[in-house]
């Protein structure tokens, strides 16, 4: 995550397209993952994220005034994704579900640059149920508050607590297992 979002907000408000690209690079992937988790279709999720960024650019003042810009972007993505779902719900077909599953395919090239340990941990993460994985990622990686994740996904804070606990337990168990079985593990 970019460490000076307020600075970006200010520059974007002033019409700085470079700053806008920096914001895009920071948030494109996490917002795409959120959109994918809601609509389960890559093409639609890409459109949603494009809509989010176009809307943010057109309404720079909205972003500038947002006291929590990260939440602003996530909430906008959620809202736009839900609008799409409402509009295109009838188009949902079986092959959309397949496309959704492909998202969890592990890319071997990306793994080579990593240690054996990280490879296994990442695989363990990808083996978590999709909802659990998304909640864990939103809290741990994207730094959202439990309350924010609950509001985004329309679930209870209790569910967020439980899912984070489950993910942490599974991954720690996996790591403990690897430490005893992989001599080179860090």
């Amino acid at each position: 995550m970019h460490n000076d979002i307020p600075e970006l907000q200010k520059r974007i408000y002033g019409g700085d397209t470079q700053a806008f690209k920096e914001l895009y690079d920071c948030f494109c992937t996490p917002l795409l993952q959120l959109a994918l988790a809601i609509v389960h279709n890559r093409e639609m999720a890409e459109e949603i994220v494009a809509d989010v960024f176009i809307a943010v650019w057109k309404n720079k003042e909205g972003l500038y005034q947002a006291s929590n810009p990260k939440w602003y972007l996530y909430a906008a993505t959620r809202n736009i994704a839900l609008n799409y779902l409402r509009k295109y719900a009838h188009k949902k077909t079986l092959h959309l579900e397949e496309a959704y599953l492909l998202e969890y395919e592990v890319n071997p090239e990306a793994q080579l640059i990593n240690t054996e340990m990280m490879r296994h941990i990442n695989r363990a993460i990808h083996e978590l149920p999709p909802q659990c994985r998304l909640i864990f990622k939103l809290v741990k990686e994207d730094g959202l508050k439990y309350k924010e994740v609950a509001m985004l996904l329309n679930i209870s804070i209790k569910t967020v607590e439980n899912q984070v606990g489950i993910a942490l337990k599974k991954l720690t168990k996996m790591k403990a297992f690897l430490i005893t079985s992989l001599p080179d593990a860090q």
């Binding site: 690209k21 895009y24 690079d25 494109c28 992937t29 795409l32 890559r42 890409e46 994220v49 494009a50 809509d51 960024f53 176009i54 809307a55 943010v56 650019w57 057109k58 909205g62 005034q65 947002a66 006291s67 929590n68 602003y72 909430a75 736009i80 609008n83 969890y104 395919e105 890319n107 090239e109 990306a110 793994q111 990593n114 990280m118 941990i121 990442n122 993460i125 990808h126 990622k137 809290v139 990686e141 508050k145 439990y146 309350k147 509001m151 209870s156 804070i157 209790k158 607590e161 439980n162 984070v164 606990g165 489950i166 942490l168 337990k169 991954l171 720690t172 790591k175 403990a176 430490i179």
Partner: protein, 327 residues
């Protein structure tokens, strides 16, 4: 026995969501479970390991950018665009209407009392100022003198004010032992007789709060807390953070939302009593120390309590206007 509770608490600790009560609960649980305690460091390690994003095999990022980039240029027709509604402070949309105030030519004091018993209400004062009264709030003023030299009112309870501008006729609110001077502005005052302090939160404009010969000028989004009990003026002035919906928690009651953030059940029960016009009874003092975070919107009291039960175990029984909380 399942140790899932430990993992939930560890997650809360690493993410910084843990409360002090939960932290001591965690320490206690770990003491009784050395096996899991041994994994604590490993778990912290897992938390600190960045998740590896799967490389963008689909080129989504560049494809999305191709769609966004042309829109950055000025004067392009935009495609189907979903307008973002910027989160704005509730007060910003409150229009201030000026209604001419006819002088009442009587000299005997005529006390006008406005009140909201169990519910909430909105009143318009003779000068056009609008006041939203929270539950159990009374507001009074002298019909004869109001608006002549001063616009003076007394508040007991909580209200949000949107004051009409009137040069030369300052608006003064008496709330507990404090006095608030206003020009044209919007702010919230909470001064229930059983509160331990008077809380003033400014949304926009400028106000001066006086008490015990001191005067404090508040800037927008600042809150002033003046304790009722202490003789010393141990007041507290703080800048407020808007919450994730872009609102100040202090004025959430206006939007029919009851917001609580890591509040004790005791404190929350106080808020809920006002909200629903009920009385709470706790079977044991331990229950009063349970903490909750959340928002009550349009739920009934039954639904709200059921929602709270999702995060902490307790039982409740509603008997008319009495709510009994037990283990």
């Amino acid at each position: 026995m399942s140790n899932d509770r430990i993992w939930i608490l560890l997650g809360k600790q690493f993410s910084g969501e843990i409360t002090s009560a939960e932290l001591s609960e965690l320490e206690k649980l770990l003491e009784d479970d050395p096996g899991t305690a041994a994994s604590r460091e490993l778990a912290a390690n897992v938390w600190q390991t960045p998740l590896q994003e799967v490389a963008d095999a689909h080129n989504s990022e560049s494809r999305i950018w191709d769609a966004v980039k042309p829109q950055l240029l000025p004067h392009r027709p935009r495609p189907v665009l979903h307008r973002l509604v910027a989160a704005a402070a509730a007060a910003a949309v409150l229009a201030v209407g000026w209604i001419g105030w006819q002088h009442v030519r009587s000299t005997t004091p005529a006390l006008q009392q406005l009140s909201a018993a169990a519910g909430k209400s909105r009143v318009t004062l003779p000068d056009g100022s609008m006041v939203w009264l929270n539950a159990h709030t009374q507001l009074h003023y002298d019909k004869n003198s109001f608006g002549k030299q001063y616009r003076e009112i007394t508040l007991n309870g909580e209200a949000f004010f949107d004051i009409a501008k009137s040069e030369g006729s300052p608006f003064i609110i008496h709330a507990g032992k404090i006095k608030i001077h206003v020009l044209g502005t919007a702010f919230n005052v909470k001064a229930y007789t059983d509160d331990s302090a008077v809380y003033t939160t400014l949304v926009r404009g400028k106000i001066a709060v006086s008490f015990q010969g001191k005067t404090i000028v508040l800037q927008p989004e600042e809150k002033l807390t003046v304790p009722v009990i202490q003789q010393a003026a141990a007041f507290q002035q703080q800048h407020l953070e808007k919450d994730s919906s872009g609102l100040l928690p202090e004025i959430s009651w206006l939007n029919n939302k009851l917001v609580f953030d890591n509040d004790t059940f005791d404190h929350l029960a106080g808020k809920m009593s006002q909200w629903y016009g009920v009385t709470f009874h706790f079977d044991s003092p331990g229950l009063q120390q349970l903490r909750f975070t959340g928002i009550i919107d349009t739920e009934s009291i039954d639904e709200a309590l059921k929602m709270l039960q999702l995060s902490r175990p307790f039982h409740f029984r509603i008997n008319g206007k009495e709510v009994h909380i037990s283990n």
